[in-house]
């Protein structure tokens, strides 16, 4: 599969690096370690250089995302509305830090600069849903909804088998 991704690009030409990495992330959702090694071999670059570029840009992920991605807005308006506390509450509740994924792979917690919904600050975005004027007390309730959904889905899947 990876070879097909490479076909578009001239080998040994380092200027293709970022474009290739973007393509890989589009397919896998992240940059798997063995694929990074293949990119290095294809472009005749040291593995350290490819890894360096992959960690420099925020758009690249080295670990797969969780099933649900939680983005806490840390833009100016949300900051004034103390979104820092929301983030801390989420970190406590999920037992992970921003940028990490829970061990059950259910949630990934990220921060974003500004979602553009300042009128309802502080804002938390989970997948396609937006939660405005979030309070710390609401957080367990919000997470519970996703956990229940997941359980129901598992039940349904195993039931069908």
């Amino acid at each position: 599969m990876v070879e097909q991704l490479f076909q578009k690009y001239e080998p040994s030409n380092r200027s293709n690096l970022i474009a290739i990495l973007q393509d890989i992330q589009n397919v896998f959702g992240y940059l798997p370690e063995n694929v990074i090694q293949q990119v290095a071999d294809y472009l005749k670059l040291p593995l350290s250089s490819v890894y360096g570029v992959a960690t420099f840009y925020n758009q690249f992920r080295l670990k797969p995302l969780g099933k649900n991605v939680i983005r806490v807005c840390r833009g100016t308006a949300c900051h004034v509305k103390e979104s820092e506390n929301i983030l801390s509450a989420l970190e406590l509740e999920l037992k992970i830090k921003a940028g990490e994924t829970t061990r059950d792979k259910l949630f990934t917690l990220e921060t974003v600069a500004c979602i553009g919904a300042c009128s309802i600050a502080p804002v938390v975005n989970i997948n396609d849903e937006y939660y405005g004027r979030v309070t710390i007390r609401e957080i367990p309730k919000i997470l519970k909804k996703f956990r229940l959904e997941n359980k129901a889905q598992i039940k349904q899947n195993t039931g069908e088998e």
């Binding site: 370690e33 350290s48 490819v50 890894y51 420099f56």
Partner: protein
């Protein structure tokens, strides 16, 4: 020619010259951190900023070309303040543990802090906190001390072309490290230590073995012996402010005896032994049409590089162990038997100009009867630290001679320490082996010097040998693709991983003097010139060891003791 003024001094400069170089030409020193001679400037550290009349901001002098009529100030208050702030910011994100730091007294950051009179902490905040990488047996990486100048990255990528380390992450979290921060031991690093030589702080340093060595010396049951590599004798004097290229072999021997070593031997002896074995292996490969070209195997950095990157060419490597490993093997077999010592009680310490030798001495292949050939390796720098600790004043040391029989050597052995030396030494012996005649003119000037790849055609009797010498691992890919193209059938190729050879090895004294390599090389050739015997096969001790023990080069017993095998490291890592 361009005319400009720097600090009110009229300066004549060539076009395309940088402000930094123009200032240097009239004796004005501008401090630099990221700047590297002969490499494209990055202008990253900003410590070299100067004020140019008519320009709004301060200009980095390392990357800005001179122009007609420029008026430059390198010492205005504004410049001094800017530089001081840069140093302060670097210092505040640094552990500041100078008192217990290995580079105390030889640190560029410390020097700058001194130069700009830092007397208070103006910026106190979060400091980066990275773990020390002690995964490798040769080198340590301490990113907390790193000031991100990038000189190691550029040395690794642009000079050595290994690319084991690079900048990762960004901003405050920027870190120079190996892929996935996994540690040098599982990276492509060949541990050559060239990055240590350019590091301004102690972020990169050797893995010290001084404690183990001192413990062994104080252990009454151990028979601790030392051996000295050829390149150490021409460089260690620099640490004692002797002129570049001073030969201090005699003092070194005395110093080592005073440290408590029971015997002091010369690695040059086994360099001669290596030549005997390697020359006969080469003849065997040519006559019996085995794998050619043969690569030298004295440089463990080069061996590791080949094992990582071209495992398919492992058969091209000479099976000879490197000289200090041969010395260890002979000490623990021939010498131990002769002296009635149990080889298990013998502790062999090699004094080497090299960091990879530490890794090499721990290789599982390098043993005889399951006893490791060499027990510990000290770099030139570590030996100086031991001398200082034990109160051995180098200046007033009397001279002494090596112990025999593993102390006698020829002039051919001493030039092992420089690029082209192994080849030259081998050719002197190969000529005799093949023709049976003494070589008249011993110097092979074609393969001396600091060029990246040196080629020559050598006529020995009716034979025509195509030989090449690769100086610095960065040039080796070109050579390998040439071999694979197969236009010229090479017979013998010498490779040394460090530019200039062992004389500029990763374990040598650290200072940024560009002329050092040439002077050191010259010193080795001078030692060779002054020797009465300059050919390995004329070394009487070597003749004796073959008579008494090894029978002849490449004999069965010689193979057991002096030869080794290699490992495909591509498989090991993945």
């Amino acid at each position: 020619m361009i005319e400009l003024t720097i600090n009110n001094i009229k300066v004549q400069a060539e076009e395309n010259m940088t402000i930094l170089d123009a200032a240097k030409s009239v004796g004005i020193h501008i401090p630099t951190l990221c700047h590297m001679k002969d490499l494209f400037p990055t202008g990253a550290c900003r410590i070299c900023v100067v004020e140019v009349d008519g320009m709004k901001g301060l200009i980095p002098s390392c990357s800005y070309p001179v122009a007609e009529g420029m008026e430059i100030k390198t010492n205005s208050t504004r410049v001094k303040n800017a530089r001081k702030t840069i140093v302060e910011l670097l210092v505040e994100n640094h552990p500041q543990d100078c008192l217990i730091c290995v580079r105390n007294g030889n640190c560029e950051l410390q020097n700058l802090a001194k130069k700009y009179s830092l007397r208070e902490h103006r910026y106190i905040g979060e400091k980066k906190n990275h773990a020390i990488d002690i995964s490798s047996s040769s080198m340590e990486r301490d990113p907390a001390k790193c000031i991100l100048c990038g000189r190691c990255v550029r040395t690794c990528n642009e000079i050595q072309k290994v690319g084991a380390i690079d900048f990762t992450n960004r901003g405050f979290r920027t870190n120079v490290t190996t892929p996935y921060n996994k540690g040098l031991n599982v990276s492509d690093c060949i541990l050559c230590g060239q990055c240590i030589l350019v590091c301004p702080t102690a972020a990169l340093r050797e893995r010290s073995s001084t404690k183990e060595v001192m413990n062994a010396i104080s252990n009454k049951n151990k028979f601790v012996v030392a051996q000295i590599a050829p390149a150490v004798r021409a460089t260690i004097g620099e640490e004692y402010n002797l002129p570049l290229g001073s030969n201090v072999t005699g003092q070194l021997v005395t110093g080592l005896r005073r440290l408590g070593f029971k015997r002091v031997f010369d690695t040059n002896f086994s360099a001669d032994l290596t030549i005997m074995e390697e020359a006969s292996e080469l003849a065997d490969r040519i006559i019996n049409k085995k794998v050619l070209p043969m690569f030298t195997s004295c440089c463990p950095g080069w061996v590791k590089y080949l094992e990582h990157n071209h495992p398919e060419m492992i058969d091209n490597l000479s099976t000879c162990k490197s000289p200090h490993e041969m010395e260890g093997a002979v000490l623990k077999s021939y010498y131990a038997k002769k002296m009635g010592i149990d080889p298990k009680d013998m502790y062999v310490v090699s004094i080497m100009p090299c960091t990879v030798k530490k890794f090499e001495s721990a290789r599982p292949e390098l043993n005889y009867n399951k006893i490791q050939d060499v027990d510990a390796v000290l770099t030139t720098r570590e030996l100086v630290r031991l001398f200082n600790m034990m109160g051995i004043d180098f200046d007033d040391l009397p001279e002494d001679e090596f112990d025999n029989p593993l102390g006698e050597s020829s002039g051919a052995a001493v030039i092992f320490g420089t690029s082209g030396g192994v080849m030259e030494a081998a050719l002197r012996t190969a000529y005799f082996n093949i023709t049976g005649k003494e070589l008249e003119k011993l110097e092979f000037y074609d393969i001396r010097g600091l060029e990246g790849i040196k080629k020559s055609i050598i006529h020995i009797g009716e034979m025509e040998l195509n030989v090449a010498v690769v100086n610095g691992i960065g040039n080796v890919e070109q050579m390998i693709s040439e071999i694979k193209e197969g236009k010229i059938k090479y017979h013998f190729i010498e490779v040394m991983a460090c530019p200039g050879g062992c004389i500029n090895g990763g374990g040598q004294p650290i200072h940024q003097k560009p002329e050092k390599v040439k002077k050191r090389i010259q010193a080795l050739y001078e030692i060779d010139q002054k020797m009465s015997n300059r050919k390995s096969y004329n070394n009487v001790s070597i003749q004796n060891i073959y008579k008494e023990f090894l029978i002849e080069p490449n004999s069965h017993i010689a193979h057991n003791i002096l030869h080794t095998s290699y490992t495909d490291r591509r498989k090991l890592i993945k």
